[in-house]
């Protein structure tokens, strides 16, 4: 599925919730189904900086598509990672590079988009784009 479509899907899902508690509960649920990073890649060099809880991110190219995997000690961070992975994993590097991010705002996670947030969302997005850039040159 296209990134844009997945994002719309996520927006729709989140729009069903009436309050932040339900939203967060859903995000936490999503976190549980994340593509977990292989233990052998759970190393310091795959840590995302600026994150209060450890957050590992990894990416590999399979059949021209980027497969992201991640994990975090914190369940909310994992949920946020899930929201990103669902949209961007299994896409071509070029699609990832050109993808728009406004869906994060629309599902009510805007507060997490400050570069100084201790959850590393912004650094994570940056790192995902770096991976995409690296793989797009291959």
């Amino acid at each position: 599925m296209e990134i844009k479509k997945i994002q719309d899907e996520i927006i729709e899902e989140f729009s069903l919730f009436e309050d932040w508690m339900q939203k967060y509960e859903y995000m936490i649920e999503l976190g549980k189904s994340i593509e977990l990073i292989d233990p052998k890649n759970k190393i310091d060099s795959n840590l995302i900086k600026g994150c209060q809880s450890k957050l590992w991110l990894f990416a590999e190219l399979k059949n021209g598509k980027i497969i992201y995997s991640a994990d975090s000690e914190a369940i909310i961070t994992k949920g946020i990672a899930a929201v990103l992975l669902r949209a961007f994993s299994n896409q071509t590097p070029l699609d990832v590079l050109s993808a728009d991010l406004s869906y994060i705002d629309q599902i009510g996670l805007k507060e997490h988009l400050s570069p100084t947030r201790a959850n590393g969302l912004v650094s994570m997005i940056k790192q995902m784009k770096y991976y995409a850039l690296a793989y797009s040159n291959k």
Binding site: M21, Y24, E25, I28, Q52, S53, E73, I76, N119
Partner: protein, 403 residues
């Protein structure tokens, strides 16, 4: 203590966070400011802002007098013998670095310094930086399961090689009040000087520095209802005279030529450049405010809050409190089994409750307990039992979301 009246003094307590009444339980990181302090800042800039010292005009004189008067308020508050033993700095970190720089040339590789295992990074890193240069050896007083210093080890590592001992008065990570009087007396018997970091203590009780007979003591105004960017260093005259100046600049010299510069007397020798004039004045006002309420009143009230909160939190299953020293200020550091502190902090914030999560600039303390961080709730005299009830209820809801 008229808590409603006091809360009314703090405008920020009226705000909403995420639709809820704001409950500020991050007081160990920084305190909130009463109107009196905020207004003193506006008053300064609206009525008598000027650069100080050596100004012959009226406004400069007014600003200088207010600045020096702040020094005297600090002197009196901490019962310091001479006002020139009070150095105005930009905060505890600056104060400690000033002393570490001062001892750079006093110590050498035969000397030992002792640091408590409960220290804030601000009281560790400057000494590591110093020791790297002069070769002094660093020894550590470890902490026990309750988060208290192991005084037996202290006795065993203290020797006549020891030149300096550094310990905080209160641990910011755990709230432990350290037995500094004992530490000082023992150190003095062997000829070692003691620096006590009072950043975390001075919001909670009053300290008599002459009685304590401590060599150096330091705090930051922002921890005790004062503004950011200002703090103090007390140093005994004999040490301040012995130490070289830390920064070079205006004010701290008496004579400058390109060949030779002679330094000014205390306290100016250590106050290079235009000081934080307004900050110092507001620091003095903050001390006045707290003393008007009375530190005994504050201490009693905060102790009852701590007791109440500790009991409530302990009733939560799987919740473990780190630091259970008998002598504690209003800090509770905890974790809930299987749940990351970050998740708890993030969700409590949704309920309008501000707590701190992480290492609290005290990684060695975390390493001691084998954890990566804690949730820290820290109280002040403007907090209430109702707020603790709200914390308790919200925490339970958060835990059920995360569980």
């Amino acid at each position: 203590m008229d808590i409603a009246k006091i809360r009314n003094d703090f405008p920020i307590l009226k705000r909403k966070v995420n639709g809820n009444n704001f409950i500020y339980l991050d007081n160990a990181a920084t305190s909130q400011k009463p109107n009196l302090v905020i207004d003193s800042i506006s008053d300064y800039y609206k009525n008598y802002n000027s650069n100080i010292h050596r100004g012959v005009h009226t406004v400069s004189q007014e600003a200088t007098d207010a600045y020096e008067n702040a020094r005297i308020k600090i002197q009196k508050h901490f019962n310091v013998k001479n006002s020139y033993e009070v150095i105005l700095t930009s905060g505890t970190t600056h104060s400690i670095n000033l002393v570490a720089n001062g001892f750079l040339e006093i110590l050498n590789e035969n000397d030992e310094i002792i640091i408590s295992g409960l220290e804030h990074h601000s009281n560790i890193v400057p000494w590591q930086m110093m020791a790297e240069k002069n070769g002094a050896k660093i020894k550590i007083i470890p902490i026990n399961e309750n988060g208290e210093l192991d005084m037996k080890v202290y006795d065993s590592i203290l020797s006549n090689k020891t030149k300096l001992v550094f310990v905080n008065h209160v641990s910011n990570a755990l709230g432990t009040v350290n037995p500094i009087k004992k530490i000082i007396d023992k150190a003095h018997k062997l000829g070692a000087a003691v620096l006590v970091d009072g950043a975390q203590a001075s919001a909670h009780f009053k300290t008599d520095l002459q009685k304590l007979n401590v060599d150096f003591y330091t705090t930051s105004a922002h921890k005790l209802c004062g503004p950011t960017g200002i703090g103090m260093l007390f140093g005994k005259e004999k040490w301040l005279k012995k130490m070289p100046p830390y920064q070079g600049g205006g004010e701290m010299i008496s004579d400058v030529t390109f060949e030779k510069t002679t330094y000014a007397d205390l306290p100016h020798k250590f106050e290079a450049g235009t000081p934080n004039v307004c900050g110092a004045i507001a620091f003095g006002v903050a001390l006045d405010y707290l003393n008007d309420i009375g530190f005994e009143v504050i201490e009693n009230y905060e102790n009852s809050l701590l007791k109440y909160a500790t009991e409530k939190l302990k009733s939560i299953s799987k919740l473990k409190i780190y630091g259970e020293s008998k002598d504690k200020t209003s800090v509770i550091s905890f974790n809930v089994k299987g749940i990351h502190a970050y998740d708890i902090g993030t969700l409590l914030d949704k309920f309008g409750i501000a707590v701190r999560t992480g290492q609290h600039c005290a990684q060695p303390v975390m390493d001691h307990f084998g954890i990566s961080g804690t949730v820290r709730v820290s109280f002040s005299f403007y907090n209430t039992k109702e707020e603790i009830d709200k914390l308790y209820d919200s925490l339970n809801r958060v835990l059920s979301m995360l569980g």
